[in-house]
Amino acid sequence: MNKKIFVFVLTLIPAFGSLVVINRVEPYILGLPFVLFWAICWVGLTSLFLIIANKLDPASEEEENI
């Protein structure tokens, strides 16, 4: 059960993180204004967090046992 809660929290991180806006142009990173760079970072991070969550998710094991 604790594992389930941990997985839930893991997926909440990108949910909130991707909604945080850092409203500034500088510094430019990879040529992008910071506000845009930050948002693009979260696209990658969302993917990462969800893939890890799925690996740990007890639901995946339960399904395989059926």
């Binding site: 949910a15 506000v35 693009i40 990658g44 969800l50 799925n54 399904e63």
Partner: protein
């Protein structure tokens, strides 16, 4: 007939041919046609669901939005919230659908709440929501073909041709055709967008940073969220609303039902954000147009990408871009049409005439495709909204189905049939009314602080919807309980 048009025509014919090929060797039963026999592995599923994200919106809407209003629509285009919702919402929906042989989104509500009436209501709301979505795709298609023809074909003629192409395509292939052409489409779009994104920024500005610096110098507000209007508060609320609505669409649910397992859906949720990276290129294209073609206004801003392309490339390559764009409109539209006509025939007609055989139903479903296409055509010619506006309108309707679905997944569903009914109807009516009157929270309550005024209307209506749904559920549950109590008293066991 120029080179650009020939290239587009070639790809259109290729799509239809592939659709016909996909059909070979498969008996097109209703279940095959509408959910691909529920046997799509995770790879095909991935392309099907992800392909739905590469639409006219990615192609013209995101670049047009960035061109028109800068950062706010640009950030909105990413929407990582989708995937987190997908991770938790889709596996239980899929599981229930599999156990109860659900093949359409309205079926799901009908079975969960054990009410054919609710199934019909869901079907009607979905059809209403799908119309602006299809209008958006057709508008995009019209823009693409007429721009690629260098004005020799008017957008109206282009749209009519597009409707005919979509109708033929859907009627012959259903879900199977869409899955395979989706792959070709995605590869083509990816290649074209990445190329243009880099080419425009380097050719016209000498790099990505010089481009943004030039924009920032020209207009210091453009690369920031404004204090009001498309503010941060708009971004957060519109993002959440869109994510909640996204999987309510009949075609998205059909995509979910065609999965093999709940796990494949969770893996999908993890991989799909990577697909969103293509939007970066769409945005670069939009931003590159800001200084190069500064005079587009209103709905014309969606033309930004094509104005840049025509200024920079030979007609044949404009044709390749046009073909990628045409497929971006064609394939999602075909999925939407398949799913919509399925719910119209199965959840409305079949309820009305219960002894329709499956064969008759399959025939009727296909006949409905051109009919829906014609209705869409009517609306396409009678509105002048930008792609982003249509997109938000469609999602505002669709999100009204969210509360009833969400609560039905709880172990003990707190919502009654009556609650679901009233919530959906009230929500949809407010959306219709506010769309016709062109209202927003800012026009309704001009004295509120900006943080609240800029909230997306769809999300505000959703909150009302949830309150009504739960309120009516509490009342009806009590009266049901009382009736049961009375029955107990009059019938002492």
């Amino acid at each position: 007939m120029n080179a650009a048009l020939l290239v587009i025509l070639f790809f259109l014919v290729l799509c239809i041919w592939l659709g016909l090929q996909a059909r070979k060797g498969k008996e097109m039963s209703m279940e095959q046609w509408s959910v691909g026999g529920r046997g799509f592995g995770s790879l095909l599923m991935f392309f099907l669901l992800a392909g739905e994200m590469f639409t006219t919106y990615t192609f013209l809407g995101a670049s047009g939005g960035a061109y028109r209003a800068g950062i706010p629509p640009a950030l909105y285009a990413f929407n990582c919230f989708y995937f987190v919702i997908a991770y938790w919402l889709l596996p239980p929906v899929w599981k229930y659908a599999k156990e109860n042989k659900v093949i359409s989104q309205s079926d799901f509500y009908e079975k969960k709440y054990n009410s054919q009436g609710l199934g019909i209501l869901v079907a009607i709301i979905s059809v209403v929501a799908v119309i602006p979505y299809l209008v958006m795709q057709l508008k995009g298609l019209g823009i693409i073909v007429s721009e690629a023809s260098y004005g020799s074909i008017s957008p109206h003629v282009a749209i009519v041709v597009g409707v005919i192409a979509i109708t033929i395509y859907v009627t012959v292939s259903g879900m199977h055709g869409a899955a395979w052409t989706a792959i070709i489409k995605d590869i083509l779009i990816l290649a074209v967008m990445v190329f243009m994104g880099f080419y425009f920024t380097f050719h016209y500005y000498g790099g990505i940073q010089p481009m943004f610096e030039a924009i920032h110098t020209a207009n210091t507000e453009f690369l920031l969220f404004p204090k009001q209007g498309l503010s941060i508060s708009w971004f957060v609320s519109a993002t959440i609303m869109t994510a909640l609505a996204f999987y309510m669409f009949p075609h998205m649910m059909a995509g979910v039902f065609s999965a093999k397992s709940g796990k494949s859906l969770r893996i999908n949720a993890g991989i799909m954000p990577i697909y969103q990276i293509i939007i970066v290129f769409s945005l670069l294209i939009g931003f590159s147009a800001v200084i190069q073609v500064p005079d587009l206004k209103g709905a014309d801003t969606d033309l930004a990408l094509f104005k840049m392309a025509k200024m920079s490339f030979d007609p044949w390559f404009v044709g390749v871009i046009g073909a990628a764009g045409a497929m971006a409109a064609l394939i999602p539209s075909s999925l939407v049409l398949t799913a919509t006509s399925t719910i119209l025939s199965k959840n409305i007609y079949k309820v009305w005439k219960p002894n329709t055989t499956d064969q008759q139903l399959a025939k009727l479903t296909k006949m409905l495709v051109p009919f829906i296409a014609l209705v869409t055509l009517f609306f396409t010619f009678n509105g002048g909204d930008s792609i982003l506006t249509l997109y938000l309108m469609s999602y505002s309707f669709m999100v009204q189905l969210f509360p009833a679905l969400f609560f039905s997944l709880w172990k003990k569903n707190p919502v009654t049939v009556q609650g679901a009914f009233v919530g959906m109807i009230v929500g949809s009516l407010i959306v219709i009314y506010s769309t016709i009157k062109e209202m927003s929270l800012a026009t309704l309550f001009p004295s509120l602080p900006n943080v609240i005024k800029d909230l997306d209307l769809g999300l505000a209506v959703l909150i009302i919807n949830i309150a009504v749904t739960l309120g009516v559920s509490v009342i009806t549950r009590k009266s049901v309980a009382r009736v049961e109590d009375d029955a107990d008293i009059s019938n002492p066991a």
